[in-house]
Structures are given as C-alpha cells and as structure tokens.
C-alpha cells in the first residue's frame, strides 16, 4: 500500500532533474559553458562558497564545541537561535543582513564611517550572505559528532595535563573530523546554491556578486537554454558532492 505513494514521491523528486537533462541543448553545451560570463559566474560561485565555508569552519566549529561541551544557562536557547537561519527564508536573511550590515544598517553605518567598509554589492557581501545561511549546517553536524564522541579520551588527556585548547586540537578535533568534513561539504553545497540572501543583500552584478544561481535566474528571462546549461553545472556539482558523501549518507542503513 505504501509502495504507490513511495513511487510517486520518487518520481516527484527525480522527474524534474530528468527534465533538465532531456531539455539540455547538448550539441551546444560545451560552447555555452565556455562563454566568459558562465565561467565568471562559476569562478565567483566556487571562490565565494569556499571562502564562506572557511569562515563557517573558523566560527562554527568553536560554536559547536561550545554547544556540545560547555554547560551554561540558556544553552538550549542559543542552540535554537543557531538553527534559525536554517528555517528562515533566505530572502528574510538577506533583508536582516541589509538592516544590520547595509550602508545605513545598525553596524554597517559604523563600519563605513570607521573603516570605509561597505559590504553590499561586494564579493565580501556574497560571502557574508552565504556564511549566514550555511553555517547552521556545519554547526549542527559538528555538534552531533561532538556529542557522539567518547569524552573519556578528552578527560584522560586533561588529567595528563593538557590544556583545554590542546585537548581540543589534539584529541577532540581528530575524533570528530569526519563530522567536520561532512558538515563542511554540506555547508559548501548550501553556500554554492545560495540565492535569496545573496540577491537581497549583495545585489547582482557580473564578476562581483552574480553567482551561478543568480545567473540561472537572470538567464531564464531571455535565454532559457543558457539557464538549463547553468543549472546542469550546479546539478553536476551536487552529484559530485553526494558521491563524496556516499559513505555517510547513501549507504547508511
């Protein structure tokens, strides 16, 4: 009885992707891929998503450690707050970023006056938007790994005189490395696909803020075929990511 809706569900998920493959302009695919504006958007997407992931690692891993290892009042609330960007529509995130980091934003105003830094309409703005949306994926993944890790190793290291930082660096981090990697890959994929927060906060200009998803959206207006080609690139990237995570997700019992 459950098989029918299950198959319908499968078709629902797979058919749109198949449609993308069917409608793809295969004969002109390579030519279209080599167009400068496509390469530019691709390069920008890869660079921004990678830097955003680095930022997430730098801030997210310690945050996950804090949530998993340190008892403090309001921890549940902090954990809930961390997951908000996960359920928030990205456009709302973009508006929020604009109100805080925009030129007239609460912090942005001050940033511009003090350092002459203005984030909207820059690649740095893209990175900020992507990191905002993608960081929860990393934090949740790493926190889960930390909670699953055996604390006795850390305790042993601590009794042998290792400082908190040393324990974290030499014992904890190596133990949870698979979780960190999985979280980073998820985070990177989410950053790569980011659209709403980016277009709202960072704008849309070729070379500086027009990432692949924005290029897909714009191409759909005039050149649907180009949009298909760009979508295929993103699809290919997703498949590669899925393949790299194969062992932890697809093969999970």
């Amino acid at each position: 009885m459950l098989v029918v809706p299950a198959l319908a569900g499968l078709a629902f998920l797979v058919l749109p992707l198949a449609g993308l493959l069917v409608r793809a302009p295969w004969p002109t695919l390579l030519v279209r891929l080599a167009e400068p504006h496509v390469l530019e958007a691709l390069r920008l997407s890869l660079v921004c998503a990678t830097v955003a992931t680095a930022v997430c690692l730098l801030l997210g891993v310690p945050l996950a450690w804090l949530l998993a290892r340190v008892e403090f009042p309001g921890r549940r609330l902090v954990r809930a707050l961390v997951t908000v960007p996960l359920v928030l529509p990205p456009v709302v995130g973009g508006v929020a970023l604009l109100l805080v980091l925009g030129r007239r934003g609460l912090a942005g105003q001050w940033l511009e006056a003090a350092f002459g830094i203005s984030l909207p309409f820059t690649s740095a703005g893209v990175i900020v938007a992507e990191a905002f949306v993608a960081m929860p994926f990393l934090v949740i993944s790493v926190e889960g790994a930390l909670r699953g890790a055996d604390r006795r190793f850390e305790e042993a290291a601590a009794t042998l005189g290792a400082s908190r930082l040393t324990v974290f660096r030499r014992v904890t981090l190596p133990m949870v490395m698979p979780g960190v990697v999985a979280g980073a890959v998820l985070c990177w994929a989410r950053a790569l696909g980011e659209f709403g927060a980016t277009i709202t906060f960072a704008g849309n200009f070729p070379g500086t803020t027009r990432t692949m998803p924005l290029a897909v959206y714009l191409a759909l207006e005039t050149e649907p075929e180009a949009a298909i080609v760009l979508s295929l690139v993103l699809l290919a990237v997703s498949v590669v990511i899925l393949a790299s995570l194969r062992d932890r997700w697809v093969n999970s019992p």
């Binding site: 909207p120 309409f121 889960g144 277009i199 704008g203 200009f205 070729p206 759909l220 207006e221 649907p224």
Partner: protein, 260 residues
C-alpha cells in the same frame, strides 16, 4: 545522520509552516472557476504598474460584484517567460514592446494596445548624499548606482538613455525589476538609480526624482493584451477596456504615466 541533533521544534515548525502555507499557494486557480461563469481574472503586469493596477483591480471588482482580480507583478521579462511556459493568465500588461513580443511571437496573445508611456528619472535617496544633479554625475566612480538588468524593460531603457548621453556608467548592481532597483535607493544602499518617473512618485518622501533630457529618447511604451487562452474570456476583455477607458487613463496619468 546529521539532522538527528536538531531540536524537535526545528523540524516541527517548518513542516507546520509549510502545511499552513498550502491552501494559499495552490488553491483555486482560474481553471477551478472557469466552469461556472468565470468570476476571476488573472492579470500579469509589469512591476512599475503595481500601484495603478492594484487601484484599477479594486475599481474593476467594485464594478463587477463577485469578481476577483488576481494580480501578479514582476519584471515584464519574467512574466512573459511564465506566460510562454503556460502560466494561466488572462491579461498581460508589459513595460516594453520587446517583452510583449515574446508572448505574441508564441501566438499566445492577440494584437496588443499601447496604453501608456513611461520615462526614466534619476532616483536619489532623501537628502541626496552624493549630491547627484544630472545624468553625468552617475558616471562618477564615487557614486554608487543601481540599474535594472538589461534583460528587463527598465534596464533596456537605462542603456538607451545612457547611450544617448554618451555616458559610461558602472553600476554596483543590476536588479531584476524596477521595484527592486528602487528599494536599493529607498534603503540608501546606493546613491542613485535609474527608475521610472512613476516609481519615484509612488515611493513618496524616501526618494527624490531628477528628470533628465535623454529620458525622452528612452521612453517605454506599455502594451496590454488579452491572452489567447484567457480562462476568464470576456471578463479579461472588460478589464482591458477599463484600463484604456477614461477612468483608467485618469488613474494612470495621476500616477505619472503619459497617455499616448
């Protein structure tokens, strides 16, 4: 599994929100009401028509009790693509003949009527922080400028106007429709933008408009057409009649449009 660590509400909440949203997004399209003397007319209109067509929609509903006018605003290019892809619209009002042509080329609309013209203005935030006074000030690299993307009518008009003035302007962003461009001015994120005169007027005190002579060479004609497959049929024609009527023209000219 990564998501096992999510607090329960983080899973329950989006599901609840998604369910709550369901009736709103799919429910009762024009097809559903087509049978019993269609009482719904779906109008796809350029973003720059947001205020005027909302008013006209109410006027139409008042004149035809029991009818609902469903309005969908966006960049004309997007709307044209949606219609070509089979969106169930009755009327299409676009901000340029080029975007209307996308629809007529696909044999999806009869002959369109030009009902208004619109001109660009320079929009600056209240207080005009960059002291923009004329079009050539936009070429100053210190001035942050937002333009519409060239694919959408306001962007095409901007390119034409800047070309006519012989100016090279490097914007910081190319927005998807004219309202998005205007928003960047309203928020003060840019120092200037090229948007329609009507958008400047609709924005009120947050935005100041500066007219410039080259705008005359880049005026946009707005065509309107009943779509060939219009589920609302006759009702769709009556909506177009209202737009081109005396009353419709008054509403539109009041908002800053020029009637040809």
């Amino acid at each position: 599994m990564v998501f096992r660590r999510l607090p329960r509400w983080a899973i329950v909440l989006p599901v609840a929100l998604a369910l709550a949203g369901l009736p709103g997004c799919g429910g009762g399209g024009p097809a559903a009401s087509a049978g019993g003397g269609s009482k719904e007319v779906t109008v796809f209109a350029a973003a720059s028509l947001t205020e005027t067509f909302t008013t006209l929609g109410r006027t139409f509903e008042a004149a035809h009790p029991g009818t609902t006018v469903r309005l969908n605003f966006g960049s004309s290019a997007t709307l044209a693509q949606q219609i070509v892809q089979g969106a169930p619209a009755d009327v299409f009002a676009s901000a340029s003949p080029a975007t209307m042509k996308t629809v007529t080329d696909a044999a999806l609309a009869g002959s369109p009527t030009t009902f208004v013209r619109n001109k660009l203005q320079i929009a600056v935030p209240a207080g005009n922080p960059a002291k923009v006074g004329e079009l050539k000030d936009l070429a100053d690299p210190q001035v942050k400028v937002a333009l519409c993307a060239e694919q959408v009518p306001c962007g095409a008009a901007a390119v034409k106007a800047l070309g006519a003035a012989g100016l090279q302007v490097t914007p910081v962003t190319l927005e998807q429709d004219v309202k998005a461009t205007l928003t960047k001015v309203e928020l003060g994120e840019v120092d200037a933008a090229l948007v329609y005169r009507t958008d400047v007027m609709a924005a009120g005190d947050d935005v100041r408009g500066i007219a410039f002579p080259e705008a005359d060479q880049a005026a946009n004609d707005y065509p309107i057409a009943v779509l060939a497959q219009a589920p609302a049929g006759d009702l769709a024609r009556r909506f177009v009649d209202l737009v081109v009527s005396r009353q419709g023209r008054d509403t539109l000219t009041e908002a800053g449009f020029e009637v040809p």
